[in-house]
């Protein structure tokens, strides 16, 4: 209980700390960038991931994502994002069929679409606070009857609300995100994720994360690189996350993101454009 209370309060703590930190910095006359988003920008990405659950099925996912980020005044920005992904569960490991080895096994496919809008305030040298709303839809096709538990059919709508706070500390960024997701006709999922990001060089980012989805420890690492020879427009990210539970779930992900019109270093992009 103590842990839960702590986790629930952390985003608020981070936000308050950040606000206090911003105020202190202002008082001390620290240099800050005037605009939350330097200019409107667009990014388009391809995402692939493979998730494997111990002694169960594995999933392969391929998707597209796009985001548009725009300034609203000096310290306020907004973004609109959209994602489509399709996952295919591999069932061969859990189905026995020695009598007809060539028979096609049914597999599960999940389609996900999500649209999200965010409003944030950012002080490019200090940090950012953000609030988001997203609406998503999941659908499944498993051959046999399969269903989402709460809806009783093969579609599930989701609404999510997200609060984010980030603090920029030199080559580090600390962040915390609280997400509240309402499943259609179902329960509300509350989760917190904490990030620590390090920029060894301005075009390379290493992010460690930890979360508590379903009260289960979730750890992750992601490395994103924006090679200079690609004109600072293309980012490549490789990540791995693990859910530490009885049947451990490991997910490796790879993404390629192209940024239209903004040829800036990764660190700058993260703190002044995204």
């Amino acid at each position: 209980m103590i842990r839960n209370n702590l986790c629930m309060q952390v985003p608020l703590c981070v936000a308050l700390s950040l606000a206090s930190y911003v105020a202190s910095a202002a008082e001390l006359g620290r240099p800050t960038e005037p605009k939350a988003v330097q200019k409107t920008n667009f990014s388009l990405g391809l995402v692939a991931s493979d998730s494997d659950t111990k002694d169960s099925t594995s999933n392969g996912t391929f998707g597209l994502s796009g985001i548009a980020t725009m300034p609203i005044g000096d310290i306020v920005g907004a973004s609109l994002s959209g994602t489509y992904s399709r996952s295919t569960a591999r069932t061969s490991d859990v189905l026995l069929d020695v009598s007809s080895p060539d028979q096609t096994r049914p597999s599960c496919r999940f389609n996900n679409t999500e649209l999200a809008a965010s409003v944030f305030a950012r002080w490019p040298t200090l940090g950012r606070v953000s609030a988001s709303y997203g609406n998503g839809s999941l659908s499944s096709d498993c051959g046999d009857q399969s269903m989402f538990v709460t809806t009783g059919d093969d579609e599930l709508g989701t609404d999510n609300y997200r609060l984010l706070a980030e603090a920029y500390l030199g080559n580090f960024t600390l962040g915390a995100t609280h997400t509240s997701t309402e499943l259609e006709d179902g329960p509300k999922l509350e989760s917190d994720i904490f990030n620590a990001t390090w920029y060894p060089i301005n075009s390379l980012r290493v992010t460690l994360s930890g979360g508590d989805l379903y009260e289960q420890d979730t750890y992750g690492i992601e490395i994103e690189h924006q090679p200079e020879f690609m004109g600072d427009s293309l980012g490549v990210a490789l990540g791995y996350t693990v859910v530490d539970r009885e049947q451990e779930v490991g997910t490796i992900s790879f993404s390629v993101i192209y940024h239209f019109g903004t040829k800036v270093e990764l660190k700058t992009r993260d703190r002044q454009y995204r």
């Binding site: 702590l6 986790c7 952390v10 930190y21 202190s24 620290r30 240099p31 991931s49 998730s51 659950t53 002694d55 169960s56 099925t57 999933n59 996952s87 569960a89 069932t91 189905l95 026995l96 069929d97 009598s99 028979q103 096994r105 049914p106 599960c108 999940f110 996900n112 999500e114 040298t125 997203g134 998503g136 999941l138 499944s140 051959g143 046999d144 538990v149 009783g152 599930l156 989701t158 999510n160 997200r162 500390l169 030199g170 580090f172 600390l174 499943l183 329960p187 999922l189 989760s191 994720i193 930890g210 979360g211 989805l213 379903y214 289960q216 420890d217 009885e246 049947q247 779930v249 997910t251």
Partner: protein
């Protein structure tokens, strides 16, 4: 404030260290390994078995199991594999899904053992916004399905007590299980030969009189292999020489069948347009015959002796072999104008082979009658007024063709029951009115009453040209001819190849009456009695002991 080039930003002292400690503290604070139970899926059983006693049996009832899943499961996926499962459906009630497994119809997959699986996987949200799903535990139910092979028929279905012999088992799925033996009741066969998926030849030892269910012995079949075949072993019946009169005067004998199971004789004459007469033999004496006029042209017992298959000029009719009640007639489709159904035999698969005739030298199409579909199906060949003879084991029939005007030899056809194919034999003849005769196990064949062939259709020698009718002893080693000109029955040793002509063994055996014209002769399965029928009457004659 714009930062000047080269100007460094100064952060609060120890900021990096603070950041690292801050993150570590938060991660540590949120540590927890609970929730495993909430992502589990529990099923009520790990295995389901279906069983069908035969390929044509009803589809086994569906079976149900439940899956109970944890609070965090957002999606339940049920997938299956295996040819034996037709469908899997599920209904949700709270955190429990009732999953129904429906097997396919046995005749869809056929005999065999099939395995499959139903996998139930609970999926949880994989990220904070539930944009992806991650699999939780998968629970798998193994599904097994056995569709049993079936022994449908054994032929001949009546055997003689105290005599070992080979019989033919017909059925389905013999190749889908390991057949290690055949049992007649509790008695094991002394030899078996698996011909293919539907035929096994098995030799039974000498058995006492009784009825013996015929079963396969298979170690990889769960339970006893079903059977509908019963071998009926009967003591030899010693018939005294006698004559049996027709209740109604006739001018032609059309068909003659000995019912060894029920010791009765069945004859079809032309009286009344085609009368069926049954002569029962009980208590050591022939009883009063019963007669029914049904326009019949021929009859043949079914492979299990349960039905007397009759034909009229245009229809197939099932007949009760004891009460002689006539069943529903089935009209032969697409018959050639003025043609008629001529003769019928029944193979060891219980399918009837029906030849057709017509006035004139014209080929017409034979038919196959299937009791399984109750339909007459035209064969793909046309044969000229074919006469036929089937071996007692129901495996092979020969068809000889031609009408009285035919002077040139025409192809002889061989019908093979296993596959129901009609193909030309290796020799040609034109018929003289005496149908082909085969030994019980096809070891000898007599065409036109005189020409003797071995099983490979190699011509051996001829019998006297004055032969009016001929039968072969069940073992094929003797031929008995009714020879009006010789004055009775002549016996020949057909186990040897004598060269050109078979010499008679011993003197002619006189018979107890004059059967009349157009004689047909049959022999009892024990080989002890000849039944000689003609236009006048039926003569019952003990087989010459030669």
């Amino acid at each position: 404030m714009r930062r000047l080039k080269g100007e460094e930003v100064h952060y609060l002292p120890g900021a990096r260290g603070v950041a690292g400690l801050f993150l570590m503290a938060l991660l540590a604070g949120c540590g927890g390994s609970g929730g495993d139970e909430s992502t589990r899926t529990e099923i009520s059983t790990n295995a389901i078995s279906f069983s069908a006693p035969a390929p044509d049996a009803a589809t086994p009832a569906t079976q149900v199991f439940t899956a109970t899943f944890g609070d965090e499961i957002a999606h339940l996926a049920v997938v299956h594999s295996g040819a034996a499962i037709s469908a899997v459906t599920s209904t949700m009630n709270g955190r429990t899904a009732t999953i129904t497994v429906e097997p396919v119809a046995p005749n869809t997959v056929g005999p065999g053992t099939y395995i499959g699986a139903v996998a139930v996987t609970g999926y949880t949200c994989a990220d904070a916004t539930c944009g992806k799903l991650a699999a939780g535990a998968t629970s798998t139910v193994a599904v097994s399905y056995q569709v049993s092979p079936v022994v449908q028929f054994v032929t001949p279905y009546v055997e003689t007590a105290g005599v070992a012999d080979e019989v033919i088992l017909r059925g389905v799925g013999f190749n889908r299980f390991l057949v290690e033996g055949v049992r007649f009741g509790d008695v094991a066969a002394t030899a078996i030969t698996q011909v293919n998926a539907s035929e096994i030849r098995a030799t039974h030892p000498a058995l006492p009189a009784g009825d013996y269910p015929v079963r396969l012995v298979s170690s990889n079949h769960q339970g006893v292999v079903p059977t509908t075949a019963t071998l009926r072993v009967r003591n030899p019946v010693v018939y005294a020489a006698t004559t049996l009169a027709y209740p109604t005067a006739a001018t032609e004998i059309r068909g003659l069948v000995y019912d060894a199971e029920r010791t009765s004789l069945l004859a079809v004459t032309d009286a009344g347009g085609g009368s069926l007469i049954r002569y029962p033999y009980t208590g050591g004496a022939w009883g009063a015959p019963t007669e029914v006029a049904a326009g019949l042209r021929d009859v043949a017992l079914s492979a299990a002796g349960t039905t007397l298959n009759g034909i009229t000029s245009t229809t197939y009719v099932p007949i009760d072999p004891v009460a002689l009640t006539i069943g529903t007639a089935i009209t032969a489709p697409s018959m050639t104008t003025d043609s008629f159904l001529k003769s019928i035999t029944v193979g060891n698969d219980d399918i009837g082979l029906i030849t057709t005739g017509i006035a004139g030298s014209t080929p017409t199409t034979p038919y196959l009658y299937s009791p399984f579909t109750s339909a007459l199906i035209a064969a793909t060949v046309a044969i000229n007024n074919a006469s036929q003879g089937m071996s007692a084991n129901g495996a092979t029939a020969y068809l000889i063709q031609g009408d009285p005007t035919t002077t040139t030899d025409l192809p002889v056809y061989e019908y093979t029951t296993n596959g129901n194919g009609i193909a030309t034999a290796t020799f040609s003849l034109h018929q003289n009115g005496i149908p082909p005769v085969l030994a019980r196990n096809e070891t000898r064949l007599v065409m036109n009453g005189v020409r003797v062939y071995d099983q490979a259709e190699t011509f051996l020698a001829v019998l006297p040209g004055t032969t009016g009718s001929v039968v072969l002893r069940p073992d094929g080693k003797r031929a008995y001819t009714y020879d009006r000109f010789a004055g009775g029955i002549l016996t020949f040793d057909t186990s040897v190849d004598p060269g050109e002509v078979f010499p008679a063994l011993g003197p002619v055996t006189p018979i107890s009456g004059d059967p009349g014209q157009g004689v047909r002769m049959i022999i009892s399965p024990d080989g002890g009695t000849l039944f000689i029928a003609g236009s006048n009457q039926i003569v019952v004659q003990p087989t010459p002991a030669l």
